[in-house]
Structures are given as structure tokens and as C-alpha cells.
């Protein structure tokens, strides 16, 4: 069923109780052309673009939990393409362009709000870095505007501009087309569209083994039986090393927890996404009015999909220092998600030594924005058995050749990217 103003009015007459289910709940078939492990944003986007761009529809997406239980439903919803390295800029800019048309493409409102993403700077050195980044973006055709202190004040008056501010604001780098997207809607919209094109989305189906033979992938073992597949794609975010390990692959990845926080809802106070340049802290106001915060990674290996107090203290301190008017807000909830942090902070979209087995992961804590381009390029890789040009740098072999894509220059310390 197509969603439209007419369908909305028609369903109003029946009290909105007769909307059809958004996707089917099929039993797994014994075999598929393509099995996608992981029903997060990237797995579902891959299924959608496999069907839409390549006509490949004999596909199953296997999700061990329910759709949206992973990072796709846990992130801070920020989308932007303000990167420095050419591979990352081109990829994330393609992604942003796909976001711009996504609600139409999916016939599902993902509530993209291009309210602008601002990163503040507080020292002359940081200003130089912001100018360099802005120039790099503009050279690559991406919008970037350098703002001075007064322009930042006009845009976001609630930042602490007082003489006693711990980190005085010198200015900021703004990407006007950046913004925020309703994250659950992304999972649901991609799922609905893939399902409508014939893809089986199978929830509560955990992959426990990958069967190979003669150098080829043959099947996946699941808690609901064995499923044969010509091609298998591993797209499991924080669980990358565990699932890739089932096929004997070793990866340059560690799993780390990142946490988010949401306050009680308040009237609109912030119409820009703002990132604090002096500490790891970002904030966006949701449509319901809650202020959504995130901070830095916990910084040590973890598979605990939950929040903890240490990060809370850090984030609360940064929030109160940057925007003092938040200091009396109550936090309603906080939660954690497991991110697969790579050794250079950039993702991996690649074939593997096992024929027919593909890997997509290492999205670190910034993979939500990349969801559409990830699905787009991953579908291309699976359908053609060859990398898409936009993702051709995101190889595994870059760690052997030294051609790492390291935005921060942090070296092989996953917790520091």
C-alpha cells in the first residue's frame, strides 16, 4: 500500500485501526540468492538497493533481535558530510544526497531535517583546522561556511558567550545541509520497501555459523535452522568480529560502547545540531522537545549494550559548560550501543577471501549518516562482485598497504578515533 494524503484521510475514517502491517513476517526459506546477516540500518538499506538498483529480490535479511534494536535505533540521529579525507567526503556526500531524496524513494517519511550542523572552535589552532576542513569540503563540492564568534552567537544564542566561559567561542564551521533524521523510521522505511519488493525480513533469527566449502560460502546456520545461500553479507555493526570469525576471518576491529542521553522535553530552544569543539559532546533537539546528547566512547573493549555512570558525568559536565541553561534539565533515559571501531576510524566494505562472502562494517560511532551510501555501494558489491567506486578505498587490504584512511591521525587505537 502506498502512503499518501488520500490513504491518510481514508484511514482516519476507521480511526487509524486498519492500517496494514508494514512488512510481512515470513518463515525462512531453505535457500536464497543472497542472505544478509544483520537487520540494522545498513543491512536493510543493502536489501532495499539490491532490489531497487539491481533487481535482486531472492534475498533474506536475518536479524537476531527485532528491527531497530541495534545501533540504528540507538544513535543520536546526526547526518552530515563534513569530513576531511577524500574517500570519506565523497562517500558521505553521496549519502547526504540520498538522504535528501529518501522519504520519496521509500514512500516513508524519515523526517530529514536539514537544520545545519555546527562544530565550534575555541583556539586559533582549532580555527586553522576548521578552515582546512572547510576548504577540503568545498573543494569536493560540499557546502561549508566558516562562522565568526558573533555569527555563532546569532545562530545558537544559548551557548555560553560570557567572559567567564571555560572555553571561549572563537567561531564555528557550519554545514547548512547537515541535520538530523528520525532513526527508527530509517529502519522501518527500508524494511518496508525491501519487503514490498519481495525481500524476506526475518526477525529473531540469529546466525550461529557460516558454512563454507571449496573456498566458497555455502550456507548459514541459525537458531531457526540452516539456510543455504549463494552469497552472504555480514552487516552486523558491533558484532563484526564475532560473525566474521565464524568464517575464519580476522579483522582490525574492536567493539566499544557509545552512549546517548535524552532530557525531559522542553519548548524549542535549539534549531541547529551543535558539536562542542572543546570536548566530545554533541546535541540535537528532537521533535518531541527532548535534548539528545552524546559524548565520547567509553574507551575500552565492551559488548555491554547499556549505559553507565562515568560517561554520564562527562557528558553532563560538557553540556553544563557549553550550554549552561541545560544544567537544571532532568535526564529521562540513557543507553548504549556497541560500535565496531576500526584501527583507522574508517569503515570497511569489501569482498573477503571466501568467495561469495562480503563484509560491511567498522562504522565506528558515525555510521548512521552513511547508511544510504553504505547500502547503495554494498548492494553494488554483492550484485557485481566488484566494489563500487565510492567505496573502493574502504578495503581490508589498506591496513597491509598502509593506505589507511585516518581522519584524526589517531593511529591504531580504536578507542581514540
Amino acid at each position: 500500500m502506498r502512503y499518501s494524503a488520500v490513504s491518510l484521510i481514508r484511514n482516519a475514517f476507521t480511526g487509524h485501526r486498519r492500517w496494514p502491517r508494514v512488512w510481512r513476517e515470513p518463515e525462512p526459506k531453505p535457500a536464497y540468492d543472497v542472505v544478509i546477516i544483520g537487520g540494522g540500518g545498513h543491512g536493510l538499506a543493502t536489501a532495499h538497493y539490491l532490489a531497487r538498483n539491481h533487481g535482486v529480490t531472492n534475498v533474506a535479511v536475518l536479524e537476531k533481535s527485532y528491527l531497530g534494536n541495534g545501533n540504528v535505533g540507538r544513535n543520536t540521529t546526526i547526518v552530515r558530510s563534513n569530513y576531511l579525507c577524500p574517500d570519506n567526503i565523497a562517500f558521505n556526500e553521496h549519502s547526504l544526497k540520498l538522504w535528501e531524496g529518501l522519504s520519496g524513494d521509500l514512500n516513508y517519511n524519515v523526517m530529514l531535517s536539514q537544520r545545519g550542523v555546527l562544530v565550534t572552535f575555541h583556539t586559533p589552532a582549532q580555527r586553522d583546522a576548521a578552515i582546512r576542513r572547510g576548504n577540503s569540503m568545498r573543494l569536493n563540492g560540499v557546502d561549508a561556511v566558516l562562522l565568526g564568534r558573533e555569527e555563532v552567537r546569532k545562530l545558537v544564542p544559548i551557548i555560553d558567550f560570557s567572559p567567564s566561559a571555560r572555553f571561549p567561542i572563537l567561531g564555528g564551521l557550519l554545514q547548512p545541509r547537515g541535520g538530523s533524521v528520525r532513526h527508527d523510521a530509517v529502519a522501518w522505511g527500508y524494511a518496508r520497501s525491501a519487503d514490498a519488493r519481495g525481500v524476506d525480513i526475518i526477525q529473531n533469527c540469529e546466525v550461529t555459523g557460516i558454512k563454507t566449502g571449496k573456498g566458497r560460502v555455502r550456507a548459514v546456520e541459525t537458531n531457526r535452522g540452516s539456510i543455504r545461500a549463494k552469497k552472504v553479507a555480514i552487516i552486523v555493526a558491533g558484532h563484526s568480529t564475532l560473525v566474521a570469525g565464524m568464517a575464519g576471518l580476522r579483522l582490525p576491529i574492536e567493539s566499544h560502547v557509545l552512549q546517548s542521553f535524552v532530557t525531559e522535553p522542553v519548548k524549542p530552544v535549539l534549531d541547529t545540531v551543535v558539536s562542542f569543539g572543546a570536548a566530545h559532546f554533541a546535541v540535537v533537539q528532537s521533535d518531541k522537545g527532548g535534548l539528545v546528547f552524546n559524548g565520547s566512547l567509553d574507551g575500552y573493549n565492551s559488548y555491554a549494550q547499556r549505559g553507565n555512570m562515568e560517561a554520564l558525568e562527562d557528558v553532563a559536565a560538557a553540556a553544563a559548560s557549553f550550554m549552561p541553561c541545560f544544567s537544571r534539565l532532568r535526564l529521562l533515559r540513557h543507553w548504549g550501543g556497541i560500535n565496531d571501531m576500526t584501527m583507522d576510524g574508517s569503515p570497511i566494505i569489501t569482498k573477503t577471501p571466501v568467495k561469495g562472502l562480503y563484509f560491511n562494517g567498522g562504522w565506528c560511532y558515525g555510521g548512521f549518516k552513511g547508511t544510504p551510501a553504505s547500502g547503495w555501494t554494498m548492494a553494488h558489491l554483492i550484485a557485481n562482485d566488484a566494489p563500487h567506486e565510492l567505496a573502493s578505498g574502504f578495503t581490508l587490504s589498506r591496513f597491509e598497504t598502509g593506505l589507511v584512511i585516518n581522519e584524526n591521525g589517531a593511529g591504531p587505537c580504536p578507542g581514540r578515533h
Binding site: H239, T241, R250, N301, S302, Y303, A304, E310, F399
Partner: protein, 92 residues
């Protein structure tokens, strides 16, 4: 999370810095080690869900490096030892 430092006793996490997987050992003969050995040492990690031996530095305390055995799912700490003796003996 709190780590019970052998010198300083149980201390809050904010006093420590993470040093990563303690199972990694630097190639014995750095010159002779091939690219693959270096690649493995520098980049590849086991990243288990469960028991993990890892380095922590007690920077705001005794400034010693520790080897902590911790469960990465529950964060329960099984064992804490000073890193120096083990490293001197060249044990993993």
C-alpha cells in the same frame, strides 16, 4: 567500573587509561619479522565477547601498568596484576 590496583586498592575508572589487548606481543626479531607479522601485531584483534586480558595504566595513582582480566559483556573483573613482571619474563 572500579579496578582494584595491587598498590592502591579499588579505584574509580577515571584514574585509569586503557591500553588494549594484552595478548599482543611485539615481534621478537623486529627487523626480520615480515609484513604479515607486523600487520597482525599492529592491527588485528581478537575482540572476544567474554574474557579479555587487557592493559590499563593507573595514571592518577601509582602510574603502574596493569594487566586486568575482565569480562567484556558483564564488565566483571576476575584478576588484576602488575604488568611489569610478566612483561619482563616475556610471557604472554
Amino acid at each position: 567500573m572500579r579496578i582494584a590496583c595491587p598498590w592502591c586498592g579499588p579505584r574509580p575508572l577515571s584514574e585509569f587509561t586503557y591500553g588494549g589487548d594484552a595478548a599482543k606481543t611485539r615481534p621478537k626479531a623486529p627487523e626480520a619479522a615480515g609484513l604479515e607479522t607486523w600487520m597482525d601485531y599492529v592491527y588485528l584483534r581478537k575482540n572476544p565477547a567474554g574474557r579479555h586480558r587487557e592493559y590499563w595504566h593507573h595514571g592518577s595513582g601509582c602510574r603502574c601498568w596493569l594487566i586486568v582480566t575482565r569480562d567484556t559483556v558483564t564488565h566483571e573483573i576476575e584478576h588484576v596484576a602488575l604488568a611489569a613482571p610478566q612483561m619482563r619474563e616475556g610471557k604472554k
